[in-house]
Subunit: 372 residues, 2 copies
């Protein structure tokens, strides 16, 4: 199957390398016929072009891989490709979170596939696991660590007793954090993946108005306090469904030190789904990087080449009900910790914003319920 | 798709319950048309029969689920069903480990599928993950905790400071261990799953002559010693491949307390594969139980109903090379611990057998290499 790759950054190069290796029968049948690069960039490979129409008008090119990142022009290019009857595979969580319904609907109209395994949790086959679990079970809870940068920073803070700024600087030096780390440390990236995952898990289009917490104001003394109480902390997303209601939150979460989550090292991800007969299923792996993310893109390409259709329907329309994620939360404000019992993450996010007006160092987190 | 279930024990009932629930479109299309029970057993459901020919001669029954357990008559019935052109799904690790090549070859001849997701790690989609990872990558290492009973016993010993016998008795009372626990605590069950997993991962038929260790002689004082050294212990399998050589071992393994493996609670399983571009992928879930194992069986049925074919080829013929698993091992003999560096598990298993002739309480385990 001939494919086109739009964008040749980290993930695009990873996809190209895996296709060049031809390590298996399945990968040997995929050919990168076009690589779309920006006008003015040097064409270092003969398959490179800066003319999208060359790709759109090539009838032999059945599938377009979008790995440019960002909302535009990715959104426009994906729609153009789908409308030309080409399957689309993307690794771009921002554009999927923003336009999932439009992409799925356009793909359905043109009888092609829109796949996005690489948009959540990198190399972990998370989307596939969700869809395959849904063949049998109702999924009522998903959760997990979906941002490797935040995990790396926390893990370094715990293991090397660093403060946040030092850990962030080291993560930037190691290539795990970007120059502007906001999307990772403020929970935006995790929120994109939470929206995509919950939309699939619960068959609905989740909107963006759920509470999003981050780790920007996590201090060494917080960690020391948590560890003294037998807990570590991770930036987690959690989503629940009950009948026709759902809720999502992205919140720093205290967890027992002997939980799997508390022991996720470096920049790894750990994702969880709970099915009605399957029970708890957790997947751990590389959530980023050229080859793991490239691997996820290629797994989608192979599924398309094999004519395997997964059902990413988004039909039902659920209502957001913040009470589904009621729990116990902790707020550090003016050097004092206060615990709030049985409140919604929305309420806590509002309370936190108040606290932030007085003191730039406030921090909030979910804490385990008694007995957990 | 009409199916027949051979056997109505724990797993058979789990499969039947999931089909009766009809929670999804996929499960609603599966119908348990026959349930085969032993002669003399009471037929509590109208679909029950003690006549296998009723099933074999029913042209509408396209798929047979074997959940009787044991080698015979399961082996004979599976072959009969395949030769009648019926797909076969089994949860029976003993019969798959003993006859995998014959089953795959017979299925190939009759152009039907032979599937066995439920034979390894219960509800964890381990076989599917292995096969799908192999679409892209060479798999060079697999490992993991594949026996929930042994894990439950060790976890209870650690958390409640119990001796082995007390933990075993409690596991039996809780329904996690059988009256004769040998297969679980002596590593036989893990060895079956290791053979099946390694055969698929490495495209070869692995033979049974690899070293198999167990936890029968693990003592409270061993655990205390390990914990004082920052380690816990788990009964693990490990298999490696390099060029045309492979090795497998089932060995109690010391692991850092902050590893995921050391924090697997209760009777859960944790399985790992390492792919050339994917990196490390770990899956955690329920390794046993009616509904999780039934879920794995039903996932195979749905794949068959959807006409999805995974490639469980077993072609290459590799040589066993014990040196691939060389490492550092610990032996407790006459109350003294001794460490052996850079030896094969075979050599250690022999050394352990010698130690056992003198003292019934000897114990051996793999220890992390320096720097790990």
């Amino acid at each position: 199957m001939k494919i086109a790759i739009l964008g040749f950054g980290t993930v695009g190069r990873g996809v190209y390398e895996i296709l060049q290796r031809k390590e298996t029968n399945d990968t040997a049948q995929l050919e990168a016929a076009h690589i779309f690069i920006r006008k003015g960039k040097e064409k270092t490979l003969s398959v490179m072009t800066d003319d999208l129409d060359v790709i759109l008008e090539d009838p032999e090119c059945r599938c377009v891989v979008e790995v440019m990142g960002g909302i535009e022009p990715a959104h426009t290019y994906i729609l153009k490709a789908l409308r030309k009857g080409k399957h689309v595979v993307t690794a771009n969580k921002a554009v999927v979170a923003a336009h999932l319904e439009e992409f799925l609907e356009t793909a359905r109209q043109h009888q092609v596939q829109f796949r996005f395994e690489a948009s959540c949790a990198g190399g972990i086959p998370w989307i596939r696991s969700l869809l395959q679990a849904k063949r049998i079970d109702a999924i009522h809870t998903i959760s997990g660590i979906f941002n490797g940068t935040a995990n790396y920073i926390i893990d370094q803070m715990v293991k090397k007793d660093l403060d946040f700024e030092t850990a962030l600087t080291q993560a930037q030096a190691a290539g795990y954090a970007e120059a502007d780390p906001s999307a990772d440390i403020d929970g935006i990236d995790t929120a994109n993946k939470a929206m995509i995952s919950a939309s699939l898990a619960f068959d609905t289009i989740c909107t963006r108005d759920f509470p999003i917490g981050g780790i920007r104001h996590l201090q060494k003394r917080d960690l020391q306090t948590f560890l003294q109480n037998g807990c570590s902390i991770r930036l987690m997303m959690e989503a629940r469904k009950e009948e026709d209601r759902y809720a999502i939150a992205v919140v720093p979460t205290l967890i027992a030190r002997d939980s799997l989550e508390a022991n996720v090292p470096d920049n790894f991800n750990l994702t969880t789904l709970v099915g009605s007969t399957l029970g708890e299923l957790k997947l751990y792996g590389q959530g980023a990087g050229a080859l793991p993310t490239g691997n996820a893109v290629v797994s989608d390409l192979i599924a398309i080449a094999r004519n395997e259709w997964d059902d990413a329907f988004v039909n039902h329309h659920l209502h957001y009900d913040a009470s589904l994620l009621k729990g116990d939360y902790l707020l550090r404000e003016n050097d004092r910790y206060q615990v709030y019992h049985d409140v919604t993450p929305q309420w806590m996010a509002d309370r936190y914003r108040e606290a932030m007006t007085g003191d730039a160092g406030a921090f909030w987190a979910k804490i385990p319920a008694k007995g957990e």
